[in-house]
């Protein structure tokens, strides 16, 4: 095999090189590969060394494998040989066919040049002939062109000469569009030759055009024309270079001016409303203002619609106008409701405004008028609600303050009663009216109101809440009790005037608070539950809505406070009286008592006043009193007398005994049930009077305790108290307490007396009788003077 391989070696190597140089993608690799790495077993590598390979083979493999390898290799070599032969053959074939083709080409190209020359010649002759024709026809063609141009010119001239007439015709037939088209067509010529040849013509047509412009303008301004026509007119005018903008401005200004006419001035508003009222009787008589207004607004909106179409670029301005009108409407409405306005009137005006808004909104939906006006409407309605409440409050306080009460009237004539009744009525009537008004608001079915329903309910509830609160505050302020809550507006001023306010009025306020608590608030809450519920969800976000329970509590507290204040002011007055009585004289050097001191009269007089005031305002107590006054009157006096007799017996002898008496009274006090002097005041005539008396007697006792008396001073006190007993018991419900207090005064005086020797009962009696007779006489005198 080695011998066979050797001759093959040269040839094979060459072949392989060729093939690989032909097929190898990169010959450099193959060369470099041969030089560097020589893998012996890779038969395909360039550096393959057959001898080494053989050696390796022989060394590595056994015979069988070698044989196999030999067979395989021989087959491979045969294959390679056939492949090679095929390749050579194919290449050879191609070469032969190429040679054939070249041979054919050479024979075909022969004789082509002669044909080419012939063709050139023919083309030359065609060209020369066409040139001849051209030159012969040139003159004629030029002539024709000239003629044509002249004709066109003539036609134009004709058109221009005809222009005025044509324009006139157009004016006559009002086909301004054509006229404008004609005129614009003629414009360039007229511009160039207008000063020379076509002077007349130009003038005439300009005149005509002017007429047209004028006509167009009138058309534009005339409201009777259809919008389409007016829009066209505007377009034409624009084409004629007439300054349309100024026209637009003028038109819009006119529109703006017309706004003033559309205003609903507050004065007129009432007129509007009134007229609507009376419209039922006198409908046909005249154009109603409301109707007139509606027409005006309709016109306005029509105009807006027109302008919008005519001047599409003027929307902004129209928006502004529409907004201005809406704003103005609501401003005026606000001004209007500043006065007292019923809900019906308010609604009527509101409806008119709303209609206007809707009209305008139709025309200018982009202006978002409805949003704007919805906001404004909310504000206005809210204000209206608030104002209604403040009016109500004003009403009530006016009713209270209307009566110029002076002391005498308050007692003599039943002014307090009148005031109370009037203000009660004002309260009830006011709330009823207010409910009616609000119900109207709610029943209103203008879109916006339906939307605002919940809000309105919330406002109303809130309104009531605030109303009652401020009413309470006002009551307190009126009574002059609010020195600490001066954050209430004008509290200081009220406080100053509080001196002037009559005490009776405080009583009225107290009773009124009770009335509000028991009657008005339940009623209001009922009403709210009946027809104003549902708004809660919104209202709660803004704050507490109407909470009747809380208000009741507030008014309850207020009524008690006011009643207490009444009693305070009353007792204060008496207290001043007593203070003067006890501060002025020197009790240690007091002279023997001659008569009952006159402060007792004043005291009783004050009490009488209290009684009269109370009788006017407060209800009578439910129990006993009535039967008692007459039948028991004598009884009590006798019993009291026996009491004093008893006392007298004890205290008769001397000061030593007086001390023991003091001790005894102390003892008695221990065993006596502790008399509740300061009980809760009730809203009855008796309770108030009793409380007043109790407080005064307590003050009397305290004043006595602050003094030191000599015997006569003590006797004077004894006499005064003795005198007081009968009339006090007559007026007062709780006799035991009064007895106790009167005794206390005596005890206090005896304790503070240096030399306790009470007056003898006969003297006491005599002095009292004298006093009674005197006062009777005095009364008679008074009556006489009154009757005469």
């Amino acid at each position: 095999m080695a011998t066979e391989a050797a001759p093959m070696d040269e040839k094979a190597k060459r072949m392989r090189d060729l093939l690989s140089s032909f097929y190898a993608p990169d010959p450099s690799i193959s060369t470099s590969g041969s030089s560097i790495s020589a893998s012996f077993d890779n038969i395909n590598s360039t550096s393959f060394d057959a001898d080494q390979y053989m050696d390796l083979m022989i060394k590595k493999s056994n015979l069988e494998v070698l044989l196999q390898r030999h067979v395989q290799m021989a087959a491979e070599i045969k294959n390679l040989d056939t492949d090679l032969q095929m390749l050579v053959y194919e290449n050879y074939n191609k070469f032969i066919s190429a040679t054939d083709t070249i041979k054919r080409m050479k024979s075909n190209i022969f004789g082509m040049e002669g044909n080419m020359d012939q063709l050139l010649h023919k083309i030359m002759s065609v060209q020369s002939r066409s040139d001849g024709v051209n030159t012969s026809l040139f003159e004629k063609r030029e002539h024709i062109e000239k003629l044509h141009r002249t004709r066109n010119l003539l036609r134009k001239v004709q058109f221009i000469y005809d222009l005025p007439a044509r324009l006139q015709k157009c004016i006559k037939s009002e086909t301004y569009g054509d006229a404008v088209r004609f005129y614009i067509g003629a414009m360039p010529i007229l511009k160039v030759y207008g000063d020379t040849s076509f002077q007349d013509c130009r003038r005439a047509s300009e005149e005509a055009i002017e007429i047209i412009i004028k006509n167009l303008q009138t058309k534009l301004f005339s409201d009777s024309e259809s919008i389409q026509a007016r829009a066209e007119a505007a377009v034409l005018l624009k084409q004629l270079d007439v300054p349309v903008d100024s026209l637009k401005d003028k038109l819009l200004e006119k529109l703006e001016q017309s706004l003033d006419g559309l205003q609903i001035k507050p004065e007129e508003a009432s007129l509007l409303a009134e007229h609507n009222d009376s419209s039922n009787d006198a409908e046909s008589n005249e154009q109603l203002p409301a109707k007139i207004h509606e027409d005006a607004v309709r016109g306005f909106s029509e105009a807006m619609r027109a302008y919008r179409e005519i001047f599409p670029d003027s929307e902004e301005r129209l928006f502004k106008l529409a907004k201005a009108l809406t704003a103005m409407h609501f401003e005026n409405l606000e001004l209007y409701i500043r006065k007292r306005v019923s809900a019906a009137d308010f609604l009527r005006i509101f409806r008119i405004i709303w209609e206007d808004v809707i009209l305008m909104d139709e025309v200018l939906p982009e202006a978002e008028l409805s949003d704007l006006s919805a906001e404004a409407a909310q504000v206005t309605v809210k204000k209206f609600v608030a104002r209604t409440f403040s009016h109500l409050q004003q009403d009530i306080s006016d009713t209270i303050l209307k009566f110029d009460i002076n002391q005498k009237e308050a007692v003599e004539e039943e002014v307090l009663k009148v005031v109370l009744e009037a203000s009660k009525k004002a309260g009830i009537q006011g709330t009823t009216d207010i409910f009616q008004d609000f119900r109207q608001l709610l029943d209103e079915n203008i879109g916006i109101f339906v939307k605002m329903k919940d809000l309105i309910i919330g406002w109303i509830q809130n309104g009531f809440q605030d109303f009652f609160r401020s009413l309470e505050a006002q009551f307190l302020a009126l009574s002059g009790k609010t020195s600490s809550s001066k954050d209430i507006e004008g509290g200081l001023v009220e406080g100053k005037s509080s001196d002037k306010i009559h005490a009776g009025l405080i009583l009225v306020l107290a009773q009124l608070s009770v009335f509000v608590e028991q009657k008005v608030i339940p009623r209001v809450s009922e009403e709210i539950a009946a027809s104003f519920s549902g708004g809660n969800s919104q209202a709660f976000e803004n704050g507490p809505a109407f909470i009747p329970g809380e208000l009741c509590r507030v008014f309850h507290a207020a009524s008690e406070k006011l009643l207490q204040h009444y009693i305070d002011t009353r007792t204060q007055k008496i207290s001043v009286l007593l203070r003067k009585r006890f501060k002025t004289p020197n009790w240690v050097k007091h002279k023997e008592p001659r008569e009952v001191h006159m402060y007792v009269d004043m005291f009783l007089h004050e009490l009488e006043e209290v009684g009269k005031e109370v009788k006017q305002v407060l209800p009578q107590g439910t129990f006993r009193k009535h039967k008692r006054t007459d039948s028991n009157g004598s009884n009590t006096t006798t019993s009291s007398r026996s009491n004093t007799l008893h006392n007298d017996k004890m205290t008769r002898s001397n000061s030593q005994r007086a001390r023991s008496q003091l001790f005894e009274t102390h003892l008695a006090k221990l065993f006596k049930q502790k008399v509740e002097i300061f009980t809760k005041v009730e809203f009855t005539q008796e309770s108030v009077v009793t409380t007043t008396v109790k407080l005064c007697l307590k003050s009397l006792q305290e004043y006595v305790r602050l003094q030191t008396f000599n015997r006569s001073g003590f006797q004077q006190i004894q006499l005064d108290i003795q005198f007081l007993k009968a009339p006090l018991k007559e007026t007062v419900e709780d006799e035991a307490a009064i007895d106790f207090l009167l005794d206390e005064v005596i005890v206090a005086a005896s304790e503070r007396c240096l030399d306790v020797i009470p007056l003898e009962p006969p003297i006491l009696d005599k002095l009292i009788q004298a006093k009674l007779a005197k006062s009777k006489e005095h009364n008679n005198n008074n009556n006489n003077t009154v009757s005469s």
Binding site: P544, S575, H666, E702, R705
Partner: protein
């Protein structure tokens, strides 16, 4: 709100109006009280709260020549006190010293340190300088007030200055400003007057009729509490004295006296002729926000009355906080009953 019988009682023999805390006694909670009896021999009782706080013991009993209308303990010497007394038709004021071994309970006589005899009319009260060291005294009658300098060792009192408030204002009492020792508040018929002691001039006044008693808040400057017959208790900020800062309803009848707690600035006690002692919580400060809405304000109108002690038989005139144990107060009703109560359950949490 019943007062109950939690208080510790002590009975005087006679009627009495005045009780005073013995401020200088640092070791015990003691009170001095004096009787008001026209015909009997009057007594001054020195009362001491036992260490357990469960008993009120009489530490000393001294006879006093006349009925006592006002009594004030000296702030620096526990043995010294002042009284205003009446003999029936005339008034006097004096400074007394408790005799040395005062532990014995039998009646002994008081030593008169000085007689404050510069007055003619009805003397209302004697005020000790609240600084606790100064030996200054003020005595007040209906028209005049006199500033004294007391020398207890020499047993004399010297008139430093005297000023007449004028006939029209009949003074009824007063309080010495603990924050400004030159300022004294005096109550008169129609107003509360503020006097500067350096110039002896009236510097300011609050127009308010029939004020019966005033007291300075010891903790907070410029705050004055007044009690009057009709309208209860008012709290004033002296910097803006036009309107009261707060109003408390007071008592059913006259509010006789008010006392601010020496430690807890919000606590105010008042006594009244309705036989009750009321404990108030007056958080009201001058800084109360004006922005409060009426709603909020009404919510804040919680009852300021913490407690009403009603276990008295007669009008209560005497009232004193203990400065040693500021949650304890002593009250004295006209029938001579001293009641010591503790306000501990009502102390504000701090």
């Amino acid at each position: 709100m019943q007062g109950g019988s939690s208080g510790i009682g002590y009975g005087l023999k006679y009627q009495a109006r005045c009780i005073s805390d013995v401020k200088a006694d640092k070791d015990h909670t003691s009170f001095l009280t004096g009787t008001l009896s026209l015909k009997e021999e009057n007594e001054v009782h020195l009362l001491r709260l036992s260490s357990g706080g469960s008993e009120l013991l009489c530490e000393g009993l001294f006879s006093h020549p006349n009925e006592i209308w006002d009594l004030a303990s000296c702030p620096f010497d526990q043995r010294i006190f002042s009284t205003v007394f009446s003999t029936g038709d005339s008034f006097g004021a004096a400074v007394w010293q408790i005799p040395e071994p005062y532990g014995q309970s039998n009646s002994s006589t008081l030593e008169c340190v000085a007689s404050l005899d510069a007055h003619v009319g009805k003397i209302n009260c004697v005020l000790w300088c609240p600084s606790g060291k100064s030996d200054k005294l003020i005595s007040m009658d209906e028209q005049n007030f006199v500033l004294w300098s007391l020398d207890s060792s020499k047993k004399s009192a010297e008139v430093l200055s005297k000023e007449s408030a004028g006939m029209r204002h009949s003074l009824s009492g007063g309080a010495w400003n603990p924050h400004d020792l030159n300022s004294v508040a005096a109550t008169s018929e129609s107003s509360i007057q503020f006097w500067d002691l350096r110039t002896m001039k009236k510097v300011n006044s609050i127009e308010r009729a029939h004020v019966r008693n005033v007291d300075y808040n010891l903790k907070r400057e410029h705050i004055l509490v007044s009690a009057d017959d009709e309208s209860g208790i008012h709290i004033w900020d002296l910097r803006k004295a036009k309107v009261p800062v707060q109003e408390l309803p007071g008592h059913t009848h006259w509010t006789w006296a008010v006392r601010c707690n020496p430690e807890y600035e919000e606590l105010i006690l008042s006594v009244g002729t309705d036989s009750a002692v009321n404990l108030w919580f007056a958080s009201a400060s001058s800084e109360r926000k004006a922005s409060e809405s009426p709603v909020e304000a009404s919510r804040l109108r919680v009852n300021p009355l913490l407690n009403s002690y009603t276990d008295y038989e007669d009008s209560v005139y005497g009232l004193a906080w203990s400065s040693r144990e500021p949650w304890i107060f002593a009250s004295l009703s006209y029938d001579g009953r001293v009641v010591i109560e503790s306000v501990k359950p009502f102390l504000p949490r701090r």
